[in-house]
């Protein structure tokens, strides 16, 4: 039994059309994704916009209805409506991308952070206040700020309020959907460091959704690359960055700008080569509909989407 197991997850959105507004087709946002995450680890989900990474994350926390497949959290199926117990909801929390729109501007910090507590725990006003102050201290904000409103904080501080809200119920799994992409580099560093610190402290597991490979490399133990709703490659950080097998992964890695200006010409050439390979061997890696093939293991930890053997 794993900590989090996702089995053949499919999420299809209907396309409505015609006079009677009937369903005329489906968008396969997530199309047969399976993975498992170990407790205490950070699992990175990487892809470009529209690849289905956010939809996968939202499905796990129950914000998207799934079409088929199963999600097992500590052995319990959390996808069937009946078993959606409150306990599971408490154990899975989310950090949202935009710290400017994910906090209610008309609520004080106290109410923002206490909301999950009020939903699940019956605390007296005093206890609640104390808990919120503890949480604020944990995320490095002064406990006096409980009576302030979100607009009085900077982007990094707001994102930490979002983190405080996410860890209020001592969850086991946190789904972080692009937690730093709306932030400046220096603030980014602050939030990432902090996420690593509390991970150790609270033994948290992260599902880290991002399009930034540099940050994913810094944060994650295991990484999966998504393309058009399917996995193209999955493996440890070393597998993905040192031994990428799929042309799409190679292309993503080649696209990361190099911070050393001396490598510029080389990088430019390398990218051109990868692009040529991508165009040349596209048909070897994707089927007729432009989708990735099923995953095949190339080593114990490393899976790549390649056309079926034989």
């Amino acid at each position: 039994m794993g900590f989090l197991d996702v089995e053949d997850l499919k999420i299809h959105f209907p396309i409505k059309g015609g006079i009677l507004n009937r369903t005329v087709g489906h968008i396969k946002a997530v199309d047969g994704v399976s993975f498992s995450v170990e407790q205490g680890k950070t699992y990175g989900l990487v892809g470009e916009s529209g690849s289905g990474k956010t939809t996968t994350g939202r499905a796990i926390i129950g914000l998207n209805d799934i079409t088929s497949g199963r999600i097992l959290f500590e052995g319990t199926d959390i996808t069937s409506k009946k078993s959606k117990t409150k306990d599971v909801k408490k154990d899975i929390q989310m950090i949202f991308q935009d710290p400017y729109s994910s906090l209610n501007p008309r609520k004080r910090v106290l109410d923002v952070i206490a909301e999950p507590l009020r939903n699940f725990e019956k605390l007296s006003k005093q206890e609640e206040k104390k808990r919120v102050q503890e949480l604020l201290e944990l995320v490095g904000l002064s406990p006096e700020s409980i009576l302030k409103y979100p607009h009085e904080f900077s982007g990094g501080q707001r994102q930490r309020i979002g983190v405080a809200r996410a860890i209020a119920l001592k969850p086991k799994l946190i789904i972080a959907d692009e937690p730093v992409s709306a932030l400046d580099v220096s603030v980014q560093a602050q939030v990432l460091n902090f996420m690593q610190d509390i991970q150790k402290e609270l033994n948290l597991t992260y599902l880290f959704i991002s399009h930034d490979l540099g940050i994913v490399k810094h944060m994650c133990d295991e990484i999966a690359i998504m393309y058009k709703g399917r996995y193209v490659e999955q493996g440890t950080k070393e597998d993905i960055f040192n031994r990428p097998q799929h042309i799409y992964t190679k292309r993503l890695i080649a696209a990361i700008p190099d911070i050393n200006p001396r490598n510029r010409a080389e990088q430019f050439k390398f990218r051109k080569e990868v692009q040529r390979e991508y165009e040349h061997s596209y048909d070897d890696y994707f089927d007729k509909e432009g989708l990735a093939y099923g995953l095949h293991p190339v080593s114990e930890t490393h899976l790549v989407a390649l056309p079926g053997k034989g």
């Binding site: 470009e48 490095g140 399009h211 190099d258 200006p261």
Partner: protein, 336 residues
Amino acid sequence: MGNELLEIKNLTTSFRIGDGYYAAVDDVTLTINKNEVLGIVGESGSGKSALAFSIMGLHNRVKIEGNIMLNGQDLVKMSNSKLNKLRGDDLAMIFQDPLTALNPLMEIGDQIAETLLLHKPDMSQKQRRTRVIELLNMVGIPKPEYVYGQFPHELSGGMRQRVVIAIAIANKPELLIADEPTTALDVTIQAQILDLIRELKEDIHAGIILITHDLGVVAEMADRVAVMYAGQIVEIADVYSLFENPLHPYTKSLLNSVPAEGQDKLHVIQGIVPSLKNLPRTGCRFAARIPWINESAHEENPVLHEVSPGHFVRCTCHEHFYIPEESKEEQSDGVS
């Protein structure tokens, strides 16, 4: 030299907040040479976009002092009608968000043709169409004849940005300002757009000002780099010196806060970028973010010092700057 394309002298751009003017760009002096990519780096609120908008004359209700000289003409003193003749012709800009930069109700081809119509009125309609197709080809849009009649919403983000670039280069500008041209795009598309700008640079021989917060993009694209903090240039150097021998504490801190190979903990710059109204106007503006550096290390009125040919750095605090071993003090930056 005679190689200068644009000379900015003591430019100060002030915005009106309440009943006072506050300088978002403060006494910036800068030259851009022909055929050169000048990268401007800084975080939000550093004044990099305000600088670009000042050059283009796109600000409303601001006070601009100083000179911006393009081919012997001062853009600051120029009337709007004269500026309109330059904008889109000698001066062009690529905006951050390609969706809002394009007119949603106008065909792609017509939007590009509009710039030609305004600046080259003697072109016939047929010539214009040929030129638009040629431009669409140049920026790597497949099936240009078909795309000519499409609307912006029918194109992907990367394709839209290519259209914006096509509009910008339509009249072979001498100076091209790219304000975060790839921030709204996916990484693989970003790589394509950057490669495109690089290739176009060879073709149109323009000077390019590339504004970005992404240090990787600067490292790949720029010939020279200016680092801005709180409205001032704090360091300016050729790209190799800047990345291999960064001097100003802000530059060093920025470079250390990006994830790199074998780095366990990221460096965190303490405190926050001060808002325009609360900007310290005297002394070293970065001093508050590096409180472990002795006050005596800073200059009273920091100026840019030329430490090696072409490498300028503001204030003397860089001589005493070090990054503390344990940047645990981050915990103390909470609001009071």
